[in-house]
Symmetry: C2
Subunit: 213 residues, 2 copies
Amino acid sequence: MQEEKEISQAVVRRMPRYYRHLGELLEAGVERISSNDLSRRMNVTASQIRQDLNNFGGFGQQGYGYNVKYLHEEIGKVLGLNRRHNIIVIGAGNLGQALANYVKFEKHGFMITGLFDVKPELKGMLVRGIRIYMLDELEAFCAENQVDIAALTMPKEKADAIANRLVDLGIPAIWNFAHVDLELFDKNVVVENVHLSDSLMQLSYNIVKNQKK
Amino acid sequence: MQEEKEISQAVVRRMPRYYRHLGELLEAGVERISSNDLSRRMNVTASQIRQDLNNFGGFGQQGYGYNVKYLHEEIGKVLGLNRRHNIIVIGAGNLGQALANYVKFEKHGFMITGLFDVKPELKGMLVRGIRIYMLDELEAFCAENQVDIAALTMPKEKADAIANRLVDLGIPAIWNFAHVDLELFDKNVVVENVHLSDSLMQLSYNIVKNQKK
DNA sequence: TAGATTGTTAATCGATTAACAATC
DNA sequence: TAGATTGTTAATCGATTAACAATC
């Protein structure tokens, strides 16, 4: 198969933001938009918008601009939002339950289908209709249900072991909230980190910097 | 005052990760480490590590490497972790309460001092000892308590209005979990976005890409 | 001292911006 | 057709990597 030109993660990181803004324009009833108008709205250069989009296809039309509905759909496809993703959440603590309660994800095809924990008192509980299983039921669950993404919200000490157990089960992607860099033996598994502490520290850095001015 | 050389956000984003790894080394009783050993551990180049650190000072010693404890402390100072940051959380829903329950932040000086919501039934409730106030008590609270960071976890429709109210109150930084790009009239306010949906979409992109191979 | 490893300058690489021909 | 705006090539800018002299 022809090797496609690798698209940089810098570009990929920007795509959800385009998708979001186009969704807002769509809701506002805007039919078409030029890279220039979009650039003003998003505070990026028009040039970057055109470059970014052209990594995935020629979605615009000279003299016209971009059709909002069409571009929104196409970016959705690029991001894989045209298919369903089943998510399990490992760790049914506050963060795990918060994720389970977050309905917005479903709009884009991300469905949480199970929560897992080790605390016996949680067994069988429902969070917004989603069942909490015991961690030792994980293998059985995965045998019967397709799982596309596992979100890790357990303490960092347990993250590596469980992550590799998930990899063994053939789960292709990990959404990691545990405060470690996962060490996976299968490098093909996709990992996306959400390190809230790191984010706070960046914020803190910028506060201190700002106060020096 | 002498204008300091601006440090790129690319560098700033990497600092919390250095801090974390040095913390782990410290706990493991490691006394010193060379950029080369650290680079192997973190999967970055030794050259980048030395460049990054030298933006903030010469923390190492030729022929020796870096003293783990010292470097950890210095990066902590760079990130502003040597001072206390008071955080209020706007929106006492699942995510807001999950943040309030997250004890780890306190270790680095980030203290949540209040939650705010509009639902009357939440008024006066405690989450891990932290009180939930009504949103109309915000001004009074800020008059009596120093607030360094406001975390926004309310629905996106309300985010802009509340964010600008916070800016008016002189709060210097916003940790934004609402799914919008905030439009602030004061550009000096520091904003750090945590867009969970965007993160999921990136993950989704990479899953689809991986499956094509 | 000899060996190790930093701090820093120079070289390379990649990402962003500018420019413009193509074309709707 | 004339005007607008894309898609794409070329130029610039910035970030990463390599190299090495300084020095512990």
